[in-house]
């Protein structure tokens, strides 16, 4: 036991000191901050550039209304975003378009909008600019023009556009989650929390699994493993490595969780101080029941252990990263299948397919946790999947230890499946 502890300590210290660990630990929060704060800042201040738009109105009746609508778009400082320059239509449309095109090229206009004479019935307008990548702006122009044209058409039929838009107003609908706590409004918060929890689990199994694989391979290819094995049993080395890297992961999560807590407490005021224009969004989150987090920890630990042993076995059996990647295929599949099934389980969490998939130990960490966070399944299913996972993990630790013990000292060609089966049978 003392030897395992020594191995754990070495693993932990040597990983925590690497640049990769320090960078990813620091960049994690920076990334978190970026994805929470940046969109708000961009939404508030990102209004694009000012545009000078030449408008040729072939119909002669749209120009004023169109310019009026566009004047409603403002920049951050309150000035108008669009400057409309009316241009009288000429007989030769193509010649006029070429002329305007030259104006765009010279920088006189940032673009021109050509509205043909038959725009009110069926004609196609044309917008030209040096850059046609600002979809927002194109959409704005297209919508504004459409609204103005539709308004004109309705008026021509003797209808009141304002009334029409009042009549065709869509009905709003709130989503309410009913749980033991009663009724709560939910605008997608519980979906996002589920998604984040499951993704954290998935990333953990992927990232730290790969870390174990590389560590085992490193010891094998550096040939340091034989000296170590003259002092302790292969099982002690394997478990020491798995537990040491688990501590590395937990350290990283603890730092991130602390930062996440800080962000939720003070995030609003940070956004507020950077972009005063930002208002609280209408985003409401149903409260997450605490048992979800308890189960998260349980499935986190079990899922990590289950996959860690598989990664260790694969690492010990292969000679280099390339071989390891090939042998890893079945393990990777076991991780990807539940991700592919997530959407299905999200929609029908209690269908028999969802129940069966979430009971399979290799899928359970992701799918059962997902089901738990949507709506708590019957306790028998939850406990059943936990018991199955514990049994499988114990079995996998035993099996991986057998493969590891032989594989770690085998150099040369890539072992086949029958060979690995033979290793397991060795005394």
């Amino acid at each position: 036991m003392k030897k395992i502890w020594t191995v754990i300590k070495r693993e932990y210290i040597s990983h925590v000191r690497t640049k990769a660990f320090i960078i990813s630990t620091v960049l994690g929060p920076v990334f978190m901050l970026a994805i929470t704060v940046l969109p708000v800042i961009m939404a508030v201040s990102g209004k694009g550039e000012k545009s000078t738009l030449a408008v040729v109105d072939g119909t002669g009746v749209l120009q004023a209304d169109f310019a009026g609508e566009l004047a409603k778009f403002k920049m951050g400082d309150g000035s108008e975003k669009y400057t409309v320059v009316p241009v009288a239509p000429e007989a030769d449309a193509d010649a006029q378009k070429s002329e305007l095109g030259r104006g765009v090229m010279s920088g006189k206009y940032s673009g021109y909008l050509y509205i043909p004479a038959d725009a009110l019935s069926e004609g196609t307008a044309e917008y030209a600019s040096r850059q046609t990548s600002d979809f927002n702006q194109i959409e704005t122009l297209s919508h504004t023009l459409s609204d103005v044209v539709v308004g004109k058409r309705l008026k021509a039929e003797g209808l009141n556009p304002d009334k029409i838009s009042a009549y065709t107003k869509p009905v709003k609908m709130d989503t309410v989650k009913v749980s033991e706590k009663g009724r709560e409004r939910d605008t997608g918060g519980s979906f996002i929390v589920t998604f984040v929890l499951v993704m954290v689990l998935y990333m953990t199994m992927f990232m730290y699994g790969a870390m174990i694989l590389r560590g085992v391979l490193e010891e094998k290819t550096n040939r340091v493993v034989e000296v170590v094995l003259s002092s302790l049993r292969p099982f002690q080395l394997m478990m020491g490595k798995i537990l040491g890297i688990a501590l590395v992961g937990l350290t990283q999560y603890a730092i991130w969780a602390l930062f996440g807590y800080f962000l939720t407490q003070y995030g609003g005021s940070i956004v507020g101080s950077i972009a005063p224009g930002a208002k609280a969004s209408g985003f409401a989150m149903a409260s997450i029941p605490p048992y979800v987090f308890v189960y998260f920890v349980v499935f986190f630990i079990l899922g990590y252990l289950l996959y860690a042993t598989l990664y260790a076995a694969v690492g010990s059996a292969s000679n280099n990263e390339k071989e390891a990647q090939q042998m890893l295929f079945p393990v990777t599949m076991c991780l990807i299948v539940p991700i592919l099934m997530m959407q299905y389980v999200m929609r029908s969490p209690n269908s028999s397919l969802s129940v069966i998939l979430s009971m399979i130990p290799f899928f359970a960490p992701i799918l059962m946790l997902q089901r738990i966070s949507i709506v708590l399944p019957p306790l028998t299913q939850v406990l059943g999947s936990i018991v199955l996972m514990i049994l499988t993990t114990v079995g996998m630790v035993w099996l991986s230890a057998k493969i590891y013990r032989v594989g770690i000292l085998m150099y040369g060609k890539k072992p086949s499946i029958p060979e690995i089966v033979k290793w397991i049978r060795y005394k």
Binding site: R10, E226, S230
Partner: protein, 301 residues
Amino acid sequence: MNYAVEMEHVSKKFGAFTAVKDLSLKIPRGAVFGLLGPNGAGKTTSIRMMLDIIIPDEGKIGILGRAMNEAMKSKIGYLPEDRGLYPKMKVGEVLEFLAEIKGVPRSAAPAALDKWLAKFELAEWKDKKVEQLSKGMQQKIQFIATVVHDPELIILDEPFGGLDPVNTKLLKDVMLELRADGKTIVFSTHRMEQVEMICDDICLINKGEAVLRGRLQDIKKEYGKNTVVLEYEGSIDFLKGNPDIEKIDDYGRAAEIRLKEKADPQEILKILAGRVRVAKFEIQEPSLNAIFIEKVGRSEQ
């Protein structure tokens, strides 16, 4: 039961391949024991079984008079043939880690490794990363890792592989010092001249089986004084086919000539004298190299 290592009828198979077959060995305490054999003879497998890294299919192994167990591992020092350390760790840390898993208490480790680092003149490298050291220095660090926990039994797999002459001498001297301290040293090699310099007992294995074993002096005596070691200038091709000669190992400027029983070395000297310049002509026991080639060569046929 005063043996450092005692193997009784030990066999190990890997699939269809028999690595070690019915091997019995008794290595006395305090001896320097050479485990000899060509590449692939089963030396490393035998050593790994002594160390409990792999488990024999059949037979029993006793270490220092007892059956192998976890606690015994701290009394053994092992230098594997394929050497390696953690390249990103500092020299001092690697040695502390390896000492600690050998059961050296944290408080005692620094003093022990400082003593050895000083002996090998590596003290100023203690805080450097392993990867910054030259190959030769890494080899010395690895040897320190083998002995830092003051083991009773030291097992070295091809210890001289890749060492320059200066370091070979240094290592040999340390090995003899350790023997003087009463430690048992087992080492494997296929380089016979090193064995002759320091071994008390040897076992020659080929294809997993022991083909020759015992005290080095006894073995040589058994082969008798019928070998001529010759240094010369010219060509000795004319000796081929001579009825008195059993075998010639010709190295170009030197040769080892095995005579047939009852042949007179003086006759050979007479033949040589007229035709090549003889720089050295010595009658002695056969070299271990010649015995090795003969034993291994014979079983090949």
